[in-house]
């Protein structure tokens, strides 16, 4: 069918701020889709409140609204834009929910806006439990039997009928808390009763348990003519019971024979066809390992995290093709963008293996429950590509940036007892993989491991193969044959050296360089020119020919707390600037969710671990003009010293300059030489030293490890009684690294990004933080331009930042953080692009990462027409507000602290401060502005000022005492900073979708927006 010519202007709804379960993959799919629609000649209007995205760049859509994703705000934009159509299936659950809300409010009908792609009735059918169950019955597709019950008797009766084990899922509890698997009547009586008690509605779903089944996913595409194809089948190494987003996943499927595979494929295609999907769809299935029985678990009628993974795993760009289908094109009319000689109506075939391992936030959120279940907890993921399962898996392990020792030895940090091990295998956590290796180390048979984990024997055989190889390296002399064999299974030189007890250089001398193979969707059957490569230590043909005149950009790896999609944004901008300057840009990265790992972004993509070893192999092959490390977050910065030592030319600020800011003592000297104040502080190597230092610098003190991200293991310690606990945490977070102990200066925090050519410094603007110091900058609300700083203070900030930039001969960019108190203090300098770059680029109009790249490539500020110093801000105010994922991570402390907790950010743009703040907060907290009659449920009596503001708006205050309020509150305010998601007030808010505010500043911001409208 030719494309739809009756429509001209299409609105695309983005997925908004990043939360657990809805992350960078939607920046990837959204930007792909927008570009794909523009390619077809449509005018694209994009609405997204997440500034840290490529999707919200000027060249992605014809018009971009960085506005809240609330019904009110989106309706207003639709009224102004009068689009012909709206495409909702590319913005995750947020996009779908918005489309449903717009439809229910009658907005689409009133404005005569057509929905493109999969229709709302389909979305309803796939997402509504009852409607879905009915459809499956109509199609004779099996779903696990289930029943909603309100009393224990019904639960027992149902379980008797369908057979044990059953899963108890209490309704409306946080992250499914209180549920569990009952293996017999006695267990069901206990778990069922507990579930009913915990559910606010005394409601549980009792479902026949299929835990332990193989979990299989199909990514399916279908067009309006009904052509339906399976792009990729993925198999979870973790059996059913762990969310697929939290599972180790391998593509293609490994352990299904053809009849089983075809049966599941046919079922998936039949469902997608019956749902009349027009675009991408994800189908999750469970296969009984011991019989022919299978069940349909879930259908997601949109592009998803899995579709991003499938796109990167196969090379087939699902979102791009889905957008073309949405405007009426058929699969057999759309060119395969990889081969350019074939069409989109075919099923990719792989000649390599892909392993995905999720990245969890528990290194930061130590109090959160680590146990994995049906609620996703990972913030990001890494992908390894290899020619064997072992190689793919170990490459993914090398990409995790978790713990060097764990990644090298493959064993847990501490040796568990037999019972701890059993517990860890039966109730898996984020580090399950390492416990599986530990079980092998402790001599467990594979059969015993399988009995405790239900993991398919093929995968256990592979883990045993890896482990036996490791053991083989540890015993006897290291031979060339042993080194080669281990290397071909994905062991790095570092791992081999460690295991064999020899130096890296000894191993390096034994190993040949890896070869690089192309990802081409077709296993070499057709000629392809895709610049998408992975390495393999398996000897053979190297397909990657050096580009010449190239520059390598180091990406930022998996999304984690403190290093989010912002750094993918800066990576992509760096690449674009390199290309515009006439060089070839090469990206190395390992995150399958992101824009940067789409092969069309750079001149060449190497999908590889971000280790010095794998980067060096690429450097040796490509012989680039240099390597840029400033845009890949701390991941790239941490590689700098190793790469420089190996003779790699680092472009931009020199290693010496980087060390001046990263090394504690060099940094102190630098500031002292420049007469810049710094909170008094010192470094300790152990608790004893810390005890001596703390009183000298003066309590309260800030304790933090060096060389870690996002304030991990960082805390404010009020007096000596708390010191030991936090110092030990800091030591654990970064063993053998100095602990930083600084006096905690109370004041107003602000920060600047600076750009420099090594001579002069340009500062796009100052950001002021709404919350005081003591709250991590990533969790603070940032205001631009500053609202509470005097002209003199601003001038001093600019002058100080300039002095630092000049002193370290910054070439490219840096970020400087300040506290304004009795005087100006510098608290931190990051010798790289920071997380504020996309925000500031968008609000000031200066494309900072691109400009910084040009400076790195040798341009001067004058060449780029950049002024020296800080230009006068344009009218208007921009607010960057954090977004949290507390509902997904039970057990977390909700109070804000020096350790970062937010998973994403939103932007509010307004004529004045109050309007901007209200927009940002309403989007961040999914709330409306308070109005007369609303109820605030609060942990504390407000102070006089707040009480009067509440009264002026007409908000009634109820003190929370654990009872469920009669009227659903407008918001909950919990000021007790030590409380976790489990405390009654927080639990109530999070499980009832009531906005949870944890700071008076946030509440005041919302009240003032009502009291002082712009």
């Amino acid at each position: 069918m030719p494309k739809n010519l009756n429509i001209h202007k299409i609105v695309v709804i983005g997925s908004g701020p990043i939360i657990v379960g809805q992350a960078a993959e939607f920046d990837y799919s959204g930007s792909q889709a927008c570009l794909s629609l523009r390619e077809e000649g449509y005018s694209v209007v994009l609405i997204n409140s997440n500034p840290a995205t490529i999707m919200t760049d000027d060249d992605i859509a014809d018009k971009i609204y960085l506005e809240p994703l609330t019904l009110e705000s989106v309706t207003h934009i639709l009224e102004v834009e009068k689009p012909d159509a709206l495409l909702p299936t590319l913005g995750g659950q947020t996009g779908l929910n918005m489309a449903v809300a717009l439809d229910e409010a009658g907005v689409l009908k009133r404005l005569n806006i057509q929905l493109l792609g999969t229709g709302l009735d389909t979305i309803h059918q796939a997402e509504d439990r009852q409607a879905f169950k009915q459809l499956m019955e109509d199609l004779h597709q099996p779903v696990p039997q289930s029943l909603t019950v309100h009393d224990l008797g019904s639960a027992l009766k149902f379980a008797d009928a369908c057979g044990y084990p059953v899963i108890v899922r209490p309704a409306f509890t946080l992250g499914g808390t209180g549920g569990g698997i009952a293996h017999d009547e006695a267990e069901l009586k206990i778990i069922g009763q507990r579930g009913l008690e915990l559910s606010p509605n005394t409601e549980c779903l009792i479902e026949k348990s299929i835990a332990g089944y193989k979990e299989i996913e199909f990514e399916v595409m279908r067009d309006a003519a009904g052509t339906t194809i399976s792009v990729c089948c993925m198999e979870n190494v973790d059996p059913v019971g762990i969310h697929t987003g939290d599972s180790i996943v391998v593509a293609p499927n490994q352990t299904l024979d053809d009849p089983t595979f075809q049966k599941l494929r046919s079922a998936s295609l039949q469902i997608v066809d019956a749902l009349n999907i027009q675009g991408g769809c994800n189908v999750q299935l469970a296969q009984d390992p011991n019989s022919d029985q299978y069940y349909i678990i879930e259908v997601n009628p949109r592009v998803s995290r899995s579709s991003a993974l499938a796109s990167k795993a196969t090379g087939y760009p699902i979102a791009k093709i889905a957008a073309k289908i949405a405007v009426g094109l058929n699969l057999q009319e759309i060119q395969n963008p990889v081969t350019k000689t074939t069409f989109a109506a075919f099923e990719p075939t792989l000649d390599y293996v892909v392993a995905k391992i999720p990245r969890f936030p528990f290194d930061k959120f130590v109090s959160a429950e680590r146990q994995l279940g049906t609620q996703m907890k990972a913030t990001g993921e890494v992908m390894g590509i290899g020619t064997t399962f072992e190689e793919a898996l170990l490459k993914a392990v090398q990409s995790l940036e978790l713990d060097t020792k764990m990644q090298t030895t493959l064993l847990p940090k501490t040796t568990p007892t037999e019972s701890e091990l059993t517990e860890a295998l039966e109730h898996p956590t984020d580090v399950r993989l390492f416990y599986l290796f530990e079980a092998l180390r402790q001599g467990w048979s594979k059969q015993k491991i399988q009995a405790h984990t239900q993991i398919t024997m093929f995968f256990l055989n592979k883990l045993a193969h890896i482990f036996n190889t490791l053991t083989g390296l540890q015993t006897g002399q290291l031979t060339v044959a042993k080194a080669h064999a281990a290397n071909q299974l994905g062991f790095t030189a570092g791992m081999i050296a460690q295991a064999a007890g020899v130096s890296d250089s000894v191993v390096n001398a034994l190993l040949p360089a890896p070869v690089y193979k192309m990802v081409d969707t077709c296993a070499g059957e057709f000629a392809s020119e895709t610049p998408y490569f992975y390495s393999t230590a398996f000897p053979g043909e190297n397909e990657s020919k050096p580009l010449g005149n190239s520059i390598i950009v180091i990406g930022s790896g998996p999304i984690r707390i403190g290093q989010g999609v912002e750094f993918d944004y800066t990576t992509v901008h760096c690449v674009q600037a390199i290309q515009a300057a006439g060089y070839h840009a090469i990206i190395i990265n390992n995150n399958p969710e992101t824009v940067s790992t789409d092969f069309s972004i750079s001149d060449k993509l190497y999908f590889e671990p971000l280790t010095a070893e794998s980067v060096m192999h690429i450097v040796d092959l490509e012989k680039p003009l240099g390597v840029i490390v400033q845009f890949g977050g701390q991941t790239a910065i941490n590689l700098t010293a190793k790469l420089a030592k190996l003779g790699v030319k680092i472009l931009g600020t020199s290693l010496a300059g980087i060390n001046q800011t990263e090394n504690r003592h060099e940094f102190e000297t630098l500031l002292a030489d420049l007469h810049i104040n710094q909170p008094q502080g010192d470094t300790a190597m152990n608790l004893e030293e810390a005890r001596q230092i703390a009183p000298v610098v003066g309590y309260p003190v800030m304790v933090r490890p060096s060389y870690v991200l996002g304030g991990r293991a960082m805390a404010i310690v009020e007096d000596e009684s708390e010191l030991a606990e936090y110092v030990q945490k800091a030591i654990a977070a970064a063993p053998h690294q100095p602990i930083l102990i600084d006096h905690d200066v109370q004041g107003l925090e602000c920060e600047v990004d600076i750009l420099s050519d090594g001579q002069d410094v340009f500062i796009p603007g100052i950001m002021e933080h709404l919350e005081g110091s003591g709250i991590h900058s990533g969790d603070s609300i940032a205001i631009y331009p500053p609202q509470h700083l005097t002209a003199a203070q601003q001038a001093e900030i600019i002058q100080t930042a300039t002095a630092i930039g000049k002193a370290v001969h910054c070439v490219g960019m840096m970020n400087v953080q300040f506290i304004v108190a009795d005087q100006l203090y510098v608290i931190d300098v990051n010798p790289r692009a920071s997380r504020t770059v996309p925000f500031m680029s968008k609000v000031t109009g200066y494309p900072l990462a691109k400009l910084a790249t040009n400076l790195i490539l040798g341009k001067t500020l004058a060449d780029l027409n950049l002024p020296i110093g800080c230009p006068t801000p344009k009218p208007g105010v921009a607010i960057k507000a954090p977004v949290f994922s507390f509902t997904k991570l039970p057990g977390m402390v909700t109070g804000l602290a020096p350790e970062m907790k937010s998973t994403g950010e939103t932007i509010g743009l307004g004529r004045d401060y109050h309007e901007a703040l209200a927009k940002a907060l309403c989007d961040s907290y999914h709330c409306t502005l308070p109005k007369a009659g609303d109820v605030l449920l609060s942990s504390h009596q407000p102070n006089a000022e707040l009480a009067s503001e509440l009264a002026n708006v007409g908000v009634k205050l109820t003190l929370g005492d654990g009872q469920i309020p009669a009227q659903k509150p407008w918001a909950v305010l919990n000021l007790d900073e030590h409380q976790t998601t489990a405390s009654p007030l927080n639990y109530y808010a999070l499980s009832h979708q009531v906005p949870l505010l944890t700071s008076t500043a946030t509440l005041t911001g919302l009240l003032e927006a009502v009291l002082q409208p712009a």
Partner: protein, 356 residues
């Protein structure tokens, strides 16, 4: 033990042996399926071919004799990147399977490099040896090929459908896959399998409702069956699969030609002419019907491959005949085209109705 793969053009690969230790010769081809190695190895159409798997891990699940497509392994050898050793329901691994049928294998080959080479230089002769090649390739090839040729075992069997009023098809067997027989039976059609050398009278004595020409190995022009087929197509509704499709084309005046490197995989899109709908099919062929040769025949093209336009289906303008180049029975591969068998049944029913 080492194993050596030599191609006609001098290209060679070294690897490790598995399976049987015999030396073989044949035509080297590649298959891009990620599942279904056992169905491919036992597919008679791979007779006398050295079968390269592009997916690197073969044997990640074990062998199950119920999946066999014929009574043995017809491919000359298996060429894989990495052999996996998972056992099947009876404990049988891929290695056991090849040993049982005296078929050698080679692993440790950069199968992507080999595949690209075949794509660029086209399907060619090859030998798999236990020692490096010292003699002239052609001499070794000729000698080995004479020793190791494996003609498919052609059928003499009847399979009864449990349907109340089954149709009866006589299958002209060139080396059929078990999947075709099973699909016919599942669709309410009883099947009598006869070798393609069977004469017309014997076939008529079986009182078929229809004739199906099976798949099989090699060049369709090498089979001396056209007079028989030309008679049959005027007597019965007739259909052909793969080689059967090519032979029906030849019988009606068209020509077949060798393809550069064939279609061997389970991801080939096919669309019916005049439809905007495509299905994904299982394919295994190294020859195709020459589109230029259709002029002046009574054949019409009903379907083509989505990427290269290869003829995938033919029908006769006035005889009850249709053919498919792909494998509607799958095994291995998607079942998207399984409607073929019902369509064939309907063709036979229509014929009955017309005579009634």
């Amino acid at each position: 033990m080492k194993k050596y793969l030599y191609l006609q053009d001098g290209t060679h690969f070294e690897g490790t042996a598995f399976g049987a230790t015999n030396e073989i010769a044949g035509e080297v081809v590649f298959n891009t399926s990620m599942v279904g190695y056992q169905e491919a190895l036992s597919d008679p159409s791979y007779a006398n071919q050295l079968l390269t798997f592009t997916y690197p891990l073969i044997g990640t699940y074990g062998v199950d004799m119920t999946r066999n497509q014929s009574t043995g392994v017809l491919a000359q050898c298996a060429i894989v990147h990495t052999l996996e050793n998972e056992p099947g329901p009876d404990g049988e691994t891929l290695n056991d399977y090849l040993l049982k049928y005296h078929v050698p294998g080679i692993q440790g080959v950069d199968t992507r490099q080999l595949t690209k080479h075949i794509r660029q230089s086209h399907t060619m002769q090859a030998v798999l040896l236990n020692q490096p090649l010292v003699d002239d390739f052609d001499t070794v090839y000729t000698k080995l090929f004479a020793q190791c040729q494996k003609p498919p075992q052609l059928g003499h069997a009847t399979y009864h459908s449990k349907a109340t009023h089954p149709k009866h098809v006589v299958m002209i067997d060139f080396g059929t896959k078990q999947g075709i027989i099973d699909s016919l039976v599942d669709n309410g059609i009883s099947v009598t399998v006869v070798p393609y050398t069977t004469d017309l009278a014997m076939i008529q004595n079986l009182y078929p409702d229809g004739i199906l020409l099976s798949n099989g190995p090699g060049d369709p022009a090498d089979y001396d069956v056209l007079p028989l087929i030309q008679k049959l197509e005027h007597l019965y509704p007739i259909a052909g699969i793969c080689l059967g499709h090519q032979i029906l084309a030849l019988a009606n005046g068209a020509k077949t030609v060798a393809m550069a490197y064939g279609h061997r995989g389970i991801n080939h899109p096919v669309h019916a002419i005049g439809s905007d709908h495509a299905i994904i099919t299982s394919q295994n062929h190294g020859y195709m019907v020459d589109p230029d040769s259709l002029a002046g025949t009574d054949l019409v093209v009903t379907a083509i491959e989505g990427d290269d336009g290869t003829i995938e289906g033919l029908a006769h303008q006035w005889l009850p005949m249709f053919t498919v180049q792909y494998h509607p029975e799958a095994n291995p591969g998607p079942k998207d085209a399984s409607g073929f068998f019902n369509q064939f049944k309907q063709l036979m029913e229509k014929k009955v109705a017309a005579h009634a």
